[in-house]
Protein backbone atom coordinates (compact mmCIF):
# COMPACT_ATOMS: atom_id res chain seq x y z
CA UNK A 1 0.00 0.00 0.00
CA UNK A 2 1.24 3.52 -0.70
CA UNK A 3 1.77 6.15 2.02
CA UNK A 4 -1.69 7.72 1.56
CA UNK A 5 -3.43 4.38 1.83
CA UNK A 6 -1.55 3.89 5.08
CA UNK A 7 -2.15 7.41 6.41
CA UNK A 8 -5.91 7.64 5.83
CA UNK A 9 -7.03 4.80 8.08
CA UNK A 10 -4.39 5.82 10.60
CA UNK A 11 -5.93 9.27 10.78
CA UNK A 12 -9.37 7.69 11.03
CA UNK A 13 -8.26 5.61 14.01
CA UNK A 14 -6.45 8.55 15.59
CA UNK A 15 -9.69 10.54 15.57
CA UNK A 16 -11.07 8.08 18.12
CA UNK A 17 -8.14 8.95 20.40
CA UNK A 18 -8.78 12.60 19.58
CA UNK A 19 -12.34 12.55 20.88
CA UNK A 20 -11.42 10.63 23.99
CA UNK A 21 -8.56 12.94 24.93
CA UNK A 22 -10.48 16.08 24.06
CA UNK A 23 -13.00 14.96 26.65
CA UNK A 24 -10.21 14.25 29.11
CA UNK A 25 -8.58 17.63 28.47
CA UNK A 26 -11.90 19.25 29.37
CA UNK A 27 -11.70 17.76 32.87
CA UNK A 28 -8.10 18.58 33.72
CA UNK A 29 -6.58 21.43 35.66
CA UNK A 30 -2.96 22.57 35.33
CA UNK A 31 -2.37 20.76 32.05
CA UNK A 32 1.15 21.91 31.22
CA UNK A 33 2.83 21.46 27.85
CA UNK A 34 5.12 18.86 29.43
CA UNK A 35 2.19 16.79 30.66
CA UNK A 36 0.46 17.12 27.29
CA UNK A 37 3.59 15.91 25.51
CA UNK A 38 3.97 13.00 27.94
CA UNK A 39 0.36 11.85 27.54
CA UNK A 40 0.57 12.19 23.75
CA UNK A 41 3.82 10.22 23.82
CA UNK A 42 2.18 7.44 25.82
CA UNK A 43 -0.69 7.19 23.35
CA UNK A 44 1.69 7.28 20.40
CA UNK A 45 3.84 4.52 21.88
CA UNK A 46 0.90 2.27 22.68
CA UNK A 47 -0.48 2.83 19.19
CA UNK A 48 2.90 1.95 17.70
CA UNK A 49 3.05 -1.28 19.73
CA UNK A 50 -0.49 -2.23 18.71
CA UNK A 51 0.32 -1.67 15.04
CA UNK A 52 3.48 -3.76 15.41
CA UNK A 53 1.60 -6.62 17.08
CA UNK A 54 -0.98 -6.62 14.31
CA UNK A 55 1.71 -6.53 11.62
CA UNK A 56 3.55 -9.49 13.15
CA UNK A 57 0.32 -11.50 13.46
CA UNK A 58 -0.34 -10.82 9.76
CA UNK A 59 3.19 -11.91 8.82
CA UNK A 60 2.66 -15.24 10.57
CA UNK A 61 -0.81 -16.03 9.23
CA UNK A 62 -1.08 -13.87 6.13
CA UNK A 63 1.88 -15.57 4.52
CA UNK A 64 -0.23 -18.70 4.25
CA UNK A 65 -2.82 -16.98 2.09
CA UNK A 66 -2.81 -15.68 -1.47
CA UNK A 67 -2.68 -11.94 -2.18
CA UNK A 68 -6.34 -11.57 -3.12
CA UNK A 69 -7.47 -13.20 0.11
CA UNK A 70 -5.16 -10.89 2.04
CA UNK A 71 -6.67 -7.89 0.25
CA UNK A 72 -10.18 -9.17 0.99
CA UNK A 73 -9.39 -9.51 4.69
CA UNK A 74 -7.78 -6.07 4.67
CA UNK A 75 -10.87 -4.50 3.09
CA UNK A 76 -13.08 -6.35 5.53
CA UNK A 77 -11.05 -5.09 8.50
CA UNK A 78 -11.42 -1.50 7.33
CA UNK A 79 -15.10 -2.01 6.58
CA UNK A 80 -15.85 -3.38 10.06
CA UNK A 81 -13.76 -0.70 11.77
CA UNK A 82 -15.46 2.00 9.70
CA UNK A 83 -18.94 0.74 10.53
CA UNK A 84 -18.00 0.43 14.18
CA UNK A 85 -16.83 4.05 14.26
CA UNK A 86 -19.94 5.29 12.48
CA UNK A 87 -22.07 3.38 15.00
CA UNK A 88 -20.11 4.99 17.84
CA UNK A 89 -20.67 8.40 16.25
CA UNK A 90 -24.42 7.85 16.08
CA UNK A 91 -24.71 6.63 19.66
CA UNK A 92 -22.16 8.98 21.23
CA UNK A 93 -23.36 11.14 24.09
CA UNK A 94 -21.65 14.18 25.53
CA UNK A 95 -19.24 13.97 28.45
CA UNK A 96 -19.75 15.20 31.98
CA UNK A 97 -17.35 18.09 32.48
CA UNK A 98 -16.14 17.32 35.97
CA UNK A 99 -12.72 18.06 37.35
CA UNK A 100 -10.54 14.96 37.42
CA UNK A 101 -7.71 15.32 39.92
CA UNK A 102 -6.75 11.65 39.72
CA UNK A 103 -5.67 11.43 36.10
CA UNK A 104 -2.03 10.39 35.79
CA UNK A 105 0.29 8.46 33.47
CA UNK A 106 -1.01 5.07 34.70
CA UNK A 107 -4.58 5.99 33.82
CA UNK A 108 -3.30 7.36 30.53
CA UNK A 109 -1.66 4.03 29.68
CA UNK A 110 -4.88 2.14 30.51
CA UNK A 111 -6.94 4.45 28.31
CA UNK A 112 -4.40 4.18 25.49
CA UNK A 113 -4.45 0.38 25.57
CA UNK A 114 -8.24 0.17 25.57
CA UNK A 115 -8.67 2.72 22.79
CA UNK A 116 -5.91 1.44 20.54
CA UNK A 117 -6.87 -2.23 20.41
CA UNK A 118 -8.39 -1.46 17.00
CA UNK A 119 -4.92 -0.47 15.77
CA UNK A 120 -3.92 -4.14 16.02
CA UNK A 121 -6.34 -4.81 13.16
CA UNK A 122 -4.97 -1.87 11.25
CA UNK A 123 -1.49 -3.34 11.68
CA UNK A 124 -2.80 -6.71 10.49
CA UNK A 125 -4.35 -5.11 7.41
CA UNK A 126 -1.06 -3.46 6.53
CA UNK A 127 0.88 -6.64 7.21
CA UNK A 128 -1.36 -8.56 4.85
CA UNK A 129 -0.84 -5.99 2.12
CA UNK A 130 2.93 -6.01 2.54
CA UNK A 131 3.24 -2.37 3.63
CA UNK A 132 6.56 -1.03 4.88
CA UNK A 133 6.89 -1.72 8.61
CA UNK A 134 8.91 1.45 9.25
CA UNK A 135 6.32 3.62 7.53
CA UNK A 136 3.52 1.84 9.34
CA UNK A 137 5.10 2.44 12.76
CA UNK A 138 5.89 6.06 11.89
CA UNK A 139 2.28 6.67 10.78
CA UNK A 140 0.90 4.94 13.84
CA UNK A 141 3.05 6.91 16.29
CA UNK A 142 2.94 10.35 14.67
CA UNK A 143 -0.77 10.53 13.84
CA UNK A 144 -1.70 9.38 17.32
CA UNK A 145 0.79 11.70 19.02
CA UNK A 146 -0.38 14.75 17.08
CA UNK A 147 -4.06 13.88 17.50
CA UNK A 148 -3.80 13.42 21.26
CA UNK A 149 -1.61 16.51 21.76
CA UNK A 150 -3.99 18.76 19.84
CA UNK A 151 -7.07 17.17 21.43
CA UNK A 152 -5.81 17.72 24.97
CA UNK A 153 -5.06 21.40 24.29
CA UNK A 154 -8.43 21.96 22.61
CA UNK A 155 -10.34 20.19 25.37
CA UNK A 156 -8.42 22.09 28.03
CA UNK A 157 -9.04 25.49 26.45
CA UNK A 158 -12.46 25.06 24.91
CA UNK A 159 -14.06 21.97 26.37
CA UNK A 160 -15.52 18.97 24.60
CA UNK A 161 -17.07 19.72 21.22
CA UNK A 162 -18.20 18.06 18.01
CA UNK A 163 -17.45 14.54 19.25
CA UNK A 164 -20.08 12.97 17.01
CA UNK A 165 -18.91 14.78 13.89
CA UNK A 166 -15.27 13.92 14.43
CA UNK A 167 -16.07 10.27 15.14
CA UNK A 168 -18.18 10.19 11.99
CA UNK A 169 -15.29 11.55 9.94
CA UNK A 170 -13.04 8.82 11.35
CA UNK A 171 -15.55 6.18 10.38
CA UNK A 172 -15.93 7.66 6.91
CA UNK A 173 -12.15 7.59 6.34
CA UNK A 174 -12.02 3.92 7.24
CA UNK A 175 -14.97 3.09 4.98
CA UNK A 176 -13.26 5.00 2.16
CA UNK A 177 -10.18 2.92 2.79
CA UNK A 178 -12.21 -0.28 2.56
CA UNK A 179 -13.57 0.83 -0.82
CA UNK A 180 -10.13 1.90 -1.95
CA UNK A 181 -8.64 -1.53 -1.21
CA UNK A 182 -11.57 -3.18 -2.93
CA UNK A 183 -11.17 -1.15 -6.11
CA UNK A 184 -7.38 -1.34 -6.20
CA UNK A 185 -6.85 -5.01 -5.40
CA UNK A 186 -10.06 -6.91 -5.80
CA UNK A 187 -12.02 -5.53 -8.74
Amino acid sequence: MNIWMMMLPCIGLALDDFILMMGKGATLKDLTTEKTTAYAGIFGSVNLCAALIGYLVALVFGGMLVVKVNAMICALIFLVLGMWFVHKALTRKGIVERLDLNFNWKQCVKMAIITNITTIFYGMANGMMGSSLILLLLCAYLTCFVAVFVALRIGYAYGYRFGRGIQGVGGALLLMMALSVWFKFLR
Binding site: E97, R98, L99, Y158, Y160
Partner: protein
Protein backbone atom coordinates in the same frame (compact mmCIF):
# COMPACT_ATOMS: atom_id res chain seq x y z
CA UNK B 1 -8.78 36.90 48.81
CA UNK B 2 -11.45 39.44 47.77
CA UNK B 3 -10.53 38.97 44.12
CA UNK B 4 -10.84 35.17 44.49
CA UNK B 5 -14.25 35.46 46.13
CA UNK B 6 -15.34 37.90 43.43
CA UNK B 7 -14.32 35.51 40.66
CA UNK B 8 -16.21 32.71 42.35
CA UNK B 9 -19.26 34.96 42.65
CA UNK B 10 -18.96 36.02 39.01
CA UNK B 11 -18.82 32.42 37.88
CA UNK B 12 -21.81 31.45 40.01
CA UNK B 13 -23.85 34.45 38.87
CA UNK B 14 -22.91 33.65 35.26
CA UNK B 15 -24.41 30.23 35.76
CA UNK B 16 -27.53 31.83 37.21
CA UNK B 17 -27.88 33.99 34.07
CA UNK B 18 -27.22 31.10 31.70
CA UNK B 19 -29.79 28.85 33.39
CA UNK B 20 -32.39 31.48 32.58
CA UNK B 21 -31.32 31.58 28.94
CA UNK B 22 -30.73 27.97 27.91
CA UNK B 23 -31.36 24.36 29.00
CA UNK B 24 -29.11 23.28 31.86
CA UNK B 25 -27.78 20.28 29.95
CA UNK B 26 -26.43 22.54 27.20
CA UNK B 27 -24.55 24.84 29.58
CA UNK B 28 -20.84 24.10 29.36
CA UNK B 29 -18.00 25.29 31.53
CA UNK B 30 -16.71 27.32 28.58
CA UNK B 31 -20.02 29.18 28.35
CA UNK B 32 -20.00 29.92 32.07
CA UNK B 33 -16.44 31.24 31.85
CA UNK B 34 -17.16 33.29 28.73
CA UNK B 35 -20.11 34.87 30.50
CA UNK B 36 -17.93 35.66 33.51
CA UNK B 37 -15.07 36.87 31.34
CA UNK B 38 -12.45 34.38 32.52
CA UNK B 39 -10.51 31.59 30.83
CA UNK B 40 -11.97 28.12 30.98
CA UNK B 41 -9.43 26.68 33.39
CA UNK B 42 -10.31 29.27 36.04
CA UNK B 43 -13.59 27.48 36.67
CA UNK B 44 -11.79 24.49 38.11
CA UNK B 45 -10.05 26.69 40.67
CA UNK B 46 -13.42 27.15 42.35
CA UNK B 47 -15.80 24.39 41.30
CA UNK B 48 -15.64 20.75 40.35
CA UNK B 49 -18.46 20.96 37.81
CA UNK B 50 -21.55 23.03 37.02
CA UNK B 51 -23.58 21.17 39.65
CA UNK B 52 -21.03 22.31 42.23
CA UNK B 53 -21.56 25.89 41.04
CA UNK B 54 -25.34 25.43 41.31
CA UNK B 55 -24.87 24.10 44.83
CA UNK B 56 -22.84 27.20 45.71
CA UNK B 57 -25.59 29.48 44.37
CA UNK B 58 -28.25 27.76 46.45
CA UNK B 59 -26.04 27.71 49.53
CA UNK B 60 -25.23 31.41 49.21
CA UNK B 61 -28.88 32.30 48.67
CA UNK B 62 -30.07 30.34 51.70
CA UNK B 63 -27.31 30.92 54.22
CA UNK B 64 -28.05 34.60 54.71
CA UNK B 65 -31.39 33.54 56.21
CA UNK B 66 -29.92 31.21 58.82
CA UNK B 67 -29.86 33.11 62.13
CA UNK B 68 -29.81 30.31 64.62
CA UNK B 69 -29.14 32.57 67.62
CA UNK B 70 -32.31 34.65 67.11
CA UNK B 71 -35.46 33.90 69.11
CA UNK B 72 -37.58 32.96 66.08
CA UNK B 73 -35.11 31.64 63.54
CA UNK B 74 -37.61 29.63 61.51
CA UNK B 75 -39.74 32.66 60.66
CA UNK B 76 -36.60 34.59 59.74
CA UNK B 77 -35.47 31.71 57.50
CA UNK B 78 -38.82 31.32 55.78
CA UNK B 79 -39.17 35.07 55.27
CA UNK B 80 -35.69 35.23 53.79
CA UNK B 81 -36.40 32.18 51.60
CA UNK B 82 -39.56 33.79 50.23
CA UNK B 83 -37.65 37.00 49.49
CA UNK B 84 -34.86 35.13 47.67
CA UNK B 85 -37.31 33.06 45.66
CA UNK B 86 -39.20 36.19 44.64
CA UNK B 87 -36.02 38.04 43.72
CA UNK B 88 -34.71 35.14 41.60
CA UNK B 89 -38.06 33.64 40.66
CA UNK B 90 -37.23 32.86 37.05
CA UNK B 91 -33.97 31.17 38.05
CA UNK B 92 -35.68 28.97 40.64
CA UNK B 93 -38.64 28.19 38.39
CA UNK B 94 -36.25 26.67 35.86
CA UNK B 95 -33.79 25.17 38.37
CA UNK B 96 -36.48 23.23 40.21
CA UNK B 97 -36.83 21.11 37.04
CA UNK B 98 -33.14 20.17 36.91
CA UNK B 99 -33.10 16.49 37.69
CA UNK B 100 -30.68 13.62 37.60
CA UNK B 101 -27.69 12.95 39.79
CA UNK B 102 -27.00 16.08 41.87
CA UNK B 103 -30.29 17.52 40.68
CA UNK B 104 -31.69 20.73 42.11
CA UNK B 105 -34.01 18.96 44.54
CA UNK B 106 -31.14 17.11 46.16
CA UNK B 107 -29.01 20.26 46.40
CA UNK B 108 -31.81 22.42 47.79
CA UNK B 109 -32.96 19.91 50.39
CA UNK B 110 -29.38 19.24 51.50
CA UNK B 111 -28.51 22.91 51.97
CA UNK B 112 -31.82 23.85 53.57
CA UNK B 113 -31.50 20.82 55.83
CA UNK B 114 -28.06 21.98 56.92
CA UNK B 115 -29.46 25.36 57.88
CA UNK B 116 -32.41 23.90 59.77
CA UNK B 117 -30.08 21.55 61.62
CA UNK B 118 -28.05 24.55 62.81
CA UNK B 119 -31.27 26.02 64.20
CA UNK B 120 -32.18 22.76 65.94
CA UNK B 121 -28.68 22.34 67.36
CA UNK B 122 -29.11 25.66 69.19
CA UNK B 123 -32.81 25.55 70.10
CA UNK B 124 -33.58 21.88 70.72
CA UNK B 125 -32.76 21.57 74.37
CA UNK B 126 -34.01 18.06 75.06
CA UNK B 127 -33.86 14.81 73.09
CA UNK B 128 -35.87 12.95 75.74
CA UNK B 129 -39.18 13.00 73.84
CA UNK B 130 -37.86 11.32 70.69
CA UNK B 131 -34.21 10.43 71.03
CA UNK B 132 -34.12 8.40 67.78
CA UNK B 133 -35.27 11.43 65.82
CA UNK B 134 -31.98 13.29 65.85
CA UNK B 135 -31.52 16.83 64.58
CA UNK B 136 -30.12 15.73 61.21
CA UNK B 137 -33.18 13.54 60.55
CA UNK B 138 -35.65 16.23 61.65
CA UNK B 139 -33.87 18.87 59.61
CA UNK B 140 -33.90 16.79 56.40
CA UNK B 141 -37.55 15.84 56.85
CA UNK B 142 -38.50 19.45 57.33
CA UNK B 143 -36.39 20.55 54.38
CA UNK B 144 -38.23 18.07 52.12
CA UNK B 145 -41.54 19.50 53.29
CA UNK B 146 -40.45 23.07 52.56
CA UNK B 147 -39.03 22.04 49.18
CA UNK B 148 -42.40 20.69 48.04
CA UNK B 149 -44.04 23.89 49.20
CA UNK B 150 -41.43 25.92 47.30
CA UNK B 151 -42.08 23.90 44.16
CA UNK B 152 -45.83 24.41 44.48
CA UNK B 153 -45.39 28.13 44.97
CA UNK B 154 -43.06 28.45 41.97
CA UNK B 155 -45.56 26.64 39.74
CA UNK B 156 -48.43 28.79 40.98
CA UNK B 157 -47.70 32.51 40.38
CA UNK B 158 -51.01 33.55 41.94
CA UNK B 159 -49.71 32.54 45.39
CA UNK B 160 -48.21 35.51 47.14
CA UNK B 161 -45.01 35.69 49.18
CA UNK B 162 -47.02 36.19 52.40
CA UNK B 163 -49.09 33.07 51.60
CA UNK B 164 -45.93 31.02 51.19
CA UNK B 165 -44.60 32.15 54.58
CA UNK B 166 -47.98 31.56 56.21
CA UNK B 167 -48.35 28.03 54.79
CA UNK B 168 -44.74 27.12 55.53
CA UNK B 169 -45.11 28.20 59.16
CA UNK B 170 -48.46 26.42 59.42
CA UNK B 171 -46.94 23.17 58.19
CA UNK B 172 -43.98 23.58 60.53
CA UNK B 173 -46.15 24.27 63.57
CA UNK B 174 -49.01 21.84 62.93
CA UNK B 175 -49.26 18.10 63.02
CA UNK B 176 -50.89 15.99 60.32
CA UNK B 177 -53.89 15.54 62.58
CA UNK B 178 -54.43 19.28 62.76
CA UNK B 179 -55.26 19.22 59.03
CA UNK B 180 -57.74 16.40 59.50
CA UNK B 181 -60.00 18.48 61.75
Amino acid sequence: MDKKNNTKEFLAESLRLLIQRMPFHSITIKKICDEAGVVRVTFYNYFVDKYDALDYLVQTDLMAGICERESDPLTILLTHLAKVLSEHRRFYEISVEIDGQNGFQEIFIHRLGEGIKRILDVHRTSMAEAPELDNAFLAQTHAVLIFYLVRTWLKNPSLKEEDFIKYALKMSQSSFYDFMK
